[in-house]
């Protein structure tokens, strides 16, 4: 599977390099819960220990949430957000290939809805199942399921 990085114009130059656009290694995925599904772009984040989604999306699709297990997810710089554990099915559809499996997720509640992000595809439940190559100069990534991938039938 090959995906082009998604490209975003930014209204101001980066103070680091003057760039006015950012490239993000995002891939299209379908998240499936008991009440429905959503199609979103997920950011491949090798620095994230888990898959992270906002509570709004999790509740919309009916993700299975465990309200007994509460903790805080910490980001760079030590900022933290309250989180609960959940499970959803995730599907990657790319041309004629479909990969679907059940993943554990960290469901976070944002203090400020304006800071809401979509989906981080991190280590637990996602990245260990793929061999991923980031081709920075070409702004594309290549990924293929490896022997650890938990294959299951395509969802309805």
């Amino acid at each position: 599977m090959r995906f082009a990085y998604r490209r975003y114009d930014t209204p101001e130059q980066s103070p680091l390099d003057g760039a006015t656009e950012v490239f993000r290694p995002e891939i299209p995925v379908r998240l499936i819960g008991s009440r429905g599904d959503v199609y979103v772009l997920g950011l491949l984040d090798t620095g994230s220990d888990s898959i992270v989604i906002g509570r709004g999306i999790a509740e919309r699709i009916g993700a299975r949430l465990s309200r007994k297990k509460l903790w805080r997810v910490h980001g760079f710089g030590g900022q933290s957000l309250p989180a609960v554990r959940g499970r959803v099915d995730v599907e990657i559809v790319h041309r004629r290939e479909s990969l679907c499996w059940t993943v554990p997720i960290s469901v976070v509640t944002y203090d400020d809805p304006d800071q809401d992000e979509v989906l981080l595809l991190g280590q637990s439940g996602f990245l260990p199942f793929f061999d991923v190559r980031f081709c920075g100069a070409e702004h594309l990534l290549e990924m293929k399921p490896n022997a650890q991938f938990p294959r299951r039938p395509k969802p309805l």
């Binding site: 975003y8 299209p28 984040d45 994230s48 760079f76 190559r133 070409e138």
Partner: protein, 68 residues
């Protein structure tokens, strides 16, 4: 070196900080809004039943990932 592939369309800066909805082929933006729901509804009004939702970076901010 990987074979060339067509670059993704660029998201214009007018969408900075907004939720955006792509058509299912990821070739054009079919809706946007300040919330997930608003972008989704805009896409559905535009006739896209399976839009891909995402959020454009806001202002000069750069995402610094990594969570524990």
């Amino acid at each position: 070196m990987p074979a060339k592939m067509k670059p993704a369309p660029k998201v214009p800066k007018k969408f900075s900080g907004q939720w955006i909805a792509w058509n299912h082929a990821l070739t054009k933006i079919v809706g946007s809004g300040l919330t997930f729901d608003a972008a989704l509804e805009a896409a559905e009004r535009a006739g896209e039943s399976k839009p891909f939702l995402t959020k454009a970076p806001k202002g000069p901010a750069r995402f610094a990932g990594g969570t524990r």
